[in-house]
Symmetry: C2
Subunit: 192 residues, 2 copies
Amino acid sequence: MRERVNQLINFCTQCGSPVDHVIPKDDDRLRFVCKNCGYIHYLNPKIVVGSIPIWEDKILLVKRSIDPCYGKWTLPAGYLENGESVKDGARRETREEANATLGEMHNFGLFNLTQINQIYFMFYSELLKTDFSAGHESLEASLFKEEEIPWDEIAFKVIRHTLELFFKDRASQSYSFHMENLYFDRSWKDRT
Amino acid sequence: MRERVNQLINFCTQCGSPVDHVIPKDDDRLRFVCKNCGYIHYLNPKIVVGSIPIWEDKILLVKRSIDPCYGKWTLPAGYLENGESVKDGARRETREEANATLGEMHNFGLFNLTQINQIYFMFYSELLKTDFSAGHESLEASLFKEEEIPWDEIAFKVIRHTLELFFKDRASQSYSFHMENLYFDRSWKDRT
């Protein structure tokens, strides 16, 4: 999962001229508007899709080989790409980061990270086999029982929260669809 | 709901130089990459959030005062903005397009429109009162019983599909969370 916080725009994507940061006519919020051609650059939240891969009583985690959070453990997750459904995106991320193949996928939760303009959509799914391995953004891929989860070495708060909710649901054998807003104390750096 | 299909990028948002359309190192798909500074412009799906506003046995629809689909009926919906949760976004769109206030919101469905890089997230909710009116992107706002829905005058296929699913759920008094991929025959113009 690469981190790409929505960027500032200095120049127009259409004509290359400098942009203003103004509220366009008939709008109510600041946009980057081209001073030359008037093109409005809308910035919108990005969707992060991911999975909780399950094998028997264990969960598959991957150890990140990229920043941010190099060396920390996380669930397979990443930005949804154009042309993808949310399920296909989560399946792709699981394959890319853990060379793992998910079976039937179940909706787990949607988490609004409004401070960093990210909407997480997570699934849970049984692994079809245990032939997983570290993908190109991972140092390791490994199965953990609940009591083995390295809680202090989890990369992102939203992932820690997802794992906590999952184990709670599993304990009660009651998997509901979660929708929550998650906040961090100090910008996105606090997610680590 | 304004329509903004993801755009092509000609110039770098960071330095204003022309971009190439190439596969970056360690990537597997085409991106717009700046020929000068190397900045990679990722384009990702956008989230559209909307509501099915309910009053007794009726549903609130709005008649569009903007293109595409000027004069057609739709449910309140639009692009999720940065800094918003999906619920807040759907609530805002309902207020903007119909000056209507939703009560408790329930998850209805997620619809992948992969051909146009849009992910719809829809809620259903009782209206708190009937003091709605046409918002600035609407010509009219009006309540319809199921048998009064102007099916041939609905703006978008995803909205028609949402209404069909809703009435089916309501008839059986069984509201499940829907997740579906919707396809159109000929690009986004076929959505009308």
